[in-house]
């Protein structure tokens, strides 16, 4: 049965939405959280196992120190209090993807607590999202259901378990209830999760690819009449795995809950799922008979001790955070707000920075990555990073343009050559003999010839109407097989027409 929905604009006018997010980020350590099993995306099922990650009798977990360091770095980036002593606890429940039938997580003594993240919205406004905790835990394996529709467990005749993912380190970042977001709740949630992604990438602690499941979010939302009212009953939508999905889930749930409340109904405290195909959330387990996880401190693990001096050492080596970096680069590069946002959204920031570092100007670097190269990437359906051209190559091409060795057309052909695997820009240029005709004599005679062949145009130019200049340039280009510099041509044309 389809949910009744209220118009979003009406819903946020009538109700005050309060949301909370639990974001799971998979850490990019080489090995698992509690054993030296190697981690690799897309490995053969059940090929990345040790007795520990399979929970064999007698096996014992030992904490991966790198994972703790990664988590401390994230805690620092999120302005958290870092606990010198934190503790792992067992979360007990039976499920076939759980080798021990308990997850090792942190409960009442998490590593990171009480932080915040400032999120920049599209219009430049900053919204502060309060953070409850960011704790470390291990992931479960993966079940594949066979024989049913769409890989669902319903109707399946058997299931396969792959424990490669079991034991991969996760950080769960839990916000406090986010209040005062109003109509911008979805936008803030989306920006928050994108900012987390940018931060974990800057810290180099996660691949943060949502499509590979490196990041996923549980979205909690409730409505109340006014900001003064106590929090309403919430729904929790589990494992949303795209930025758009998170935003759409919030919008949908606000509309759905508003419609129920408007009719005097009650919100069920339940777990829901975002269905990408129908663009709706669907109800699942009712939370009131939820699992009792029987948390207790894991007696196999001593408390995690991170000394003050170690935290200070990690803090001293923190990379620049994405927001600060963007502000700095924008100023250095003299980009407009729009140019900067486009570059960020295209994921071109690193590429432009590398290109500038390779010794060319920012405007030129931006022009290539956001123009020609974006077009080609779009055409090929790949990301800019995946194009087979390096920032260094791009800088070389741009410099050849600046120094007049290539014109725009030849430069594009050179880039095409690099992308086709013909070598460096210099090699491509040499191979094809690309060069701007800079011999003034040859150009002059080509210009004179063009003016002679186009008397109408010549006349207009002589009378000071420079609009048809392109026709002469085009003719000269054709005559010189595209190897002339347009600026040089127009200079000669102007000379000639002034001479009479």
């Amino acid at each position: 049965m389809a949910d009744t929905l209220m118009k979003f604009a009406d819903a946020v006018k009538k109700y005050d939405p309060v949301f909370g997010l639990e974001v799971h980020v998979e850490l990019s350590t080489n090995t698992k959280l509690f054993c030296p099993a190697h981690i690799e995306f897309g490995g053969e099922p059940n090929s990345q196992l040790t007795p520990v990650s399979l929970g064999l009798p007698g096996s014992l977990p030992v904490v991966n120190k790198t994972a703790i360091d990664y988590a401390v770095k994230l805690g620092l980036a999120l302005h958290c209090d870092i606990a010198e002593w934190s503790q792992f606890a067992r979360k007990n429940y039976f499920y076939p993807d759980m080798p021990r039938n308990y997850q090792i997580s942190q409960y009442d003594k998490p590593l990171n607590g009480n932080g915040y993240l400032d999120v920049e919205l599209d219009d430049g406004e900053i919204f502060r999202v309060p953070i409850e905790r960011a704790h470390v835990e291990d992931d479960a394996g993966k079940n594949t259901h066979v024989g049913g529709a769409d890989g669902r467990i319903e109707g399946a005749d058997h299931s396969l378990c792959d424990y490669n993912r079991a034991g991969v380190p996760l950080i769960e970042i839990v916000t406090k209830p986010v209040e005062g977001a109003g109509a911008r709740a979805a936008e803030i949630a989306g920006a928050y999760v994108r900012t987390i992604r940018d931060i974990v990438r800057a810290l180099n602690i996660s691949h943060a690819r949502m499509e590979q499941g490196n990041m996923r979010a549980d979205v909690n939302i409730s409505l109340r009449k006014t900001q003064q009212d106590p929090l309403g009953t919430r729904s929790e939508t589990k494992n949303v795995n795209s930025f758009k999905g998170i935003e759409k889930t919030l919008v949908y749930e606000i509309r759905r809950q508003a419609a129920i409340l408007d009719k005097g109904g009650e919100i069920l405290q339940e777990t829901r799922h975002w269905d990408e195909s129908t663009q709706t959330t669907a109800g699942g387990r009712v939370k009131s008979d939820a699992n009792d996880y029987r948390y207790f401190p894991d007696p196999d693990l001593v408390m995690v001790h991170v000394t003050k001096s170690h935290i200070e050492e990690l803090a001293a080596h923190m990379p620049e955070m994405p927001r600060e970096r963007r502000a700095r680069l924008k100023a250095e590069w003299k980009f407009s707000d729009l140019e900067m946002r486009d570059a960020v959204n295209a994921g071109a920031l690193d590429l432009i920075e590398e290109t500038v570092k390779a010794g060319t100007d920012a405007a030129g670097a931006r022009k290539w990555w956001m123009g020609e190269l974006s077009r080609i990437a779009n055409e090929q359906g790949v990301s800019l990073e995946e194009l087979s051209i390096t920032p260094h190559n791009v800088a070389d091409v741009q410099n050849m343009v600046t120094t007049g060795k290539l014109n725009d057309k030849l430069a594009k052909q050179t880039v095409a050559g690099v992308l086709a695997g013909e070598g460096t820009p210099a090699e491509v240029v040499a191979k094809h003999g690309y060069q701007v005709v800079s011999d003034d004599g040859a150009l002059e005679s080509a210009v004179v010839e063009a003016l002679d062949k186009n008397p109408d145009v010549a006349e207009k130019l002589r009378s000071g109407n420079m609009k048809p200049m392109g026709a002469i340039i085009g003719a000269v280009m054709r005559a010189t097989h595209g190897q002339a510099d347009a600026k040089a041509i127009s200079k000669i044309v102007i000379q000639k027409v002034r001479q009479g």
């Binding site: 007795p51 399979l54 929970g55 064999l56 009798p57 007698g58 096996s59 014992l60 977990p61 030992v62 904490v63 067992r90 007990n92 039976f94 076939p96 080798p99 021990r100 039938n101 308990y102 299931s159 378990c161 009792d292 029987r294 948390y295 207790f296 894991d298 007696p299 196999d300 693990l301 001593v302």
Partner: protein, 518 residues
């Protein structure tokens, strides 16, 4: 085989592990000869003792041959003193390639793909593994009657239990089927069977011996330790298996104290300057008169060697049993959750007519695979950890535990070691306590406190009670000072042997050895 050969084998198996090791070093005997001799005893004794669940004859012989070959070429320099001496392993410890079941149906047929850290060390020392010994299922019990496979008999009276959970290892060592063995001790599972079979059993400091590869019963209490016929053998084995292990987070990153040195020091029978604390709360009421009498005599023997005896109080020990029966089952309920039929061991499909789901398969497997005592503890622990009960049960028990740790710390300010009887009674008859779990739990009243506090403790034979059955004398030492208890223990052993004219096990009737000699 000639008469002479057989009598020589009889003598061989009666040697201590240290004596066997001496003979190996002097090339008077090979590791293979020792293994063959023990296998003969096992063959002869098992029908009446049933200490073993699995005899790894081929592996043991291969290991012995490999050692002998190395020894012959002089490559055994630097190996531990017990190199080449055979050993039996409690079936709670995983052994690569040798079936390991924890005496439970749920692990029937499971062959581990890896070795416990202690097994890696045993193998590196060239000690052949004779087999895996019986226990109460998942080490839960005090009589070995809860084994899902067989009942182990006490060599002193085969109508009686050998104690538990490590009844198999204790009986194997007492009956000369093995010179030494490994056990695990969560609430007394090494020491109480030691007391009931007249053997030496040691629970090392928690964290002093790696638990990696010891099947978990209650992780915060479990500890692997030696079972032997002499204090020196226990010390030699303890040093061999002990030390920091990076695979066990709770392993203590410090070197072991000099345990063997302390045991040898004790053999000199001079205890001047040693302060022995008598724990007021563990003696007297509830202890069998014959047990108390041997204990009192042993205490006098310690004094005669110069030890000063002081009475100390550990006021919270009376709550130890209660706290233990909350903490232990709580951890059991979580540790045993992994046995669900999904990945290894027993799998029982749900009965026809019910949904063939993973959840129903898990339920059917656990219903069929676990025995009553294990189920009882899983249910107790699940309840104690439940929301709304956690603080009242688990939380309170942990507070008691902290108080007991403080009691020991205070007591050790007044003395070097603490002493008590190991077990309230001598070996009881089969079935005597099976229908009354509470009485069975009381068997461990004197041993449990050491596990709760994490301190080392050991039981050594203190003579026979009026009923002709062995009595155990227990020493406790401060954390990571296991050496402190080895000295008075070795001294007491020497004094009692001297008074008796030889080891207590000399008086054990061993028809299975006599039949060999015939």
């Amino acid at each position: 085989m000639s008469q002479q050969d057989n009598s020589r084998q009889d003598d061989l198996v009666r040697l201590s592990a240290a004596e066997m090791a001496d003979k190996i070093r002097n090339k008077q005997v090979s590791s293979r000869e020792l293994v063959e001799a023990e296998l003969k005893v096992i063959e002869s004794a098992e029908p009446s003792i049933q200490a073993f669940l699995h005899i790894s004859k081929d592996e043991a012989l291969a290991q012995a041959d490999a050692f002998d070959k190395k020894h012959a070429s002089g490559d055994t320099e630097g190996l531990p003193e017990l190199a080449g001496v055979p050993i039996a392993i409690k079936d709670m410890i995983v052994t690569k390639g040798i079936e390991t079941t924890a005496a439970s149906k749920i692990l029937e047929g499971w062959v581990p793909p890896y070795d416990a850290t202690v097994i890696t060390k045993i193998k590196a020392a060239g000690m052949p593994i004779l087999g895996k010994t019986n226990l109460d299922e998942f080490a839960q019990g005090s009589s070995t009657e809860h084994s899902a496979y067989t009942t182990t008999h006490n060599p002193w009276d085969t109508e009686r239990v050998p104690g538990g959970s490590g009844g198999g290892s204790a009986s194997a060592v007492a009956s000369f089927e093995a010179p030494v063995a490994l056990g695990t001790d969560t609430g007394g599972s090494i020491r109480q069977p030691g007391a009931l079979t007249g053997t030496v059993g040691v629970k090392p400091t928690y964290g002093g011996v790696s638990r990696f590869g010891a099947i978990a019963m209650a992780s915060s209490l479990d500890q692997i330790g030696p079972v032997s016929r002499t204090v020196l053998d226990a010390a030699l084995l303890h040093e061999l298996i002990g030390g920091y292990d990076e695979h066990d987070s709770t392993s203590i990153p410090k070197p072991l104290p000099s345990i063997v040195k302390a045991a040898r020091e004790g053999q000199k029978m001079d205890l001047k300057g040693v302060k022995v604390g008598l724990i007021k709360e563990i003696s007297g009421e509830g202890f069998q008169p014959g047990v108390q009498a041997r204990f009192d005599e042993a205490l006098k023997a310690l004094q005669n060697m110069g030890a000063e005896v002081v009475e100390v109080s550990c006021p919270h020990l009376s709550y130890a049993l209660g706290a233990y029966y909350i903490i232990m089952p709580s951890e059991v309920s979580s540790n045993l959750a992994r046995y669900d039929g999904m990945r290894y061991g027993l799998r029982v499909m749900p009965p026809t007519g019910t949904d063939q789901t993973a959840a129903n398969m898990m339920a059917a497997t656990r219903e069929a695979g676990f025995g009553d005592e294990v189920k009882r503890r899983i249910i107790l622990g699940t309840y104690a950890l439940s929301a709304g009960y956690y603080d009242a049960w688990y939380g309170s028990a942990q507070k008691v535990r902290t108080l007991i740790i403080r009691d020991y710390e205070n007591a050790f300010k007044q003395c070097d070691v603490l002493v008590s009887p190991t077990s309230p009674s001598t070996a009881f008859k089969f079935g005597e306590k099976m229908d009354d779990p509470l009485t069975m739990y009381l068997e461990d009243v004197a041993t449990i406190p050491a596990n709760l506090a994490g301190v080392p403790a050991m039981s050594i034979p203190a003579g026979l009670s009026d009923d002709g059955l062995p009595v155990g004398f227990q020493f406790f030492a401060p954390q990571m000072r296991d050496d402190l208890m080895y000295k008075p223990a070795a001294a007491l052993e020497a004094a009692l042997d001297q008074a008796r004219g030889g080891p207590m096990l000399q008086s054990l009737k061993t028809p299975w050895l006599e039949s060999l000699a015939k």
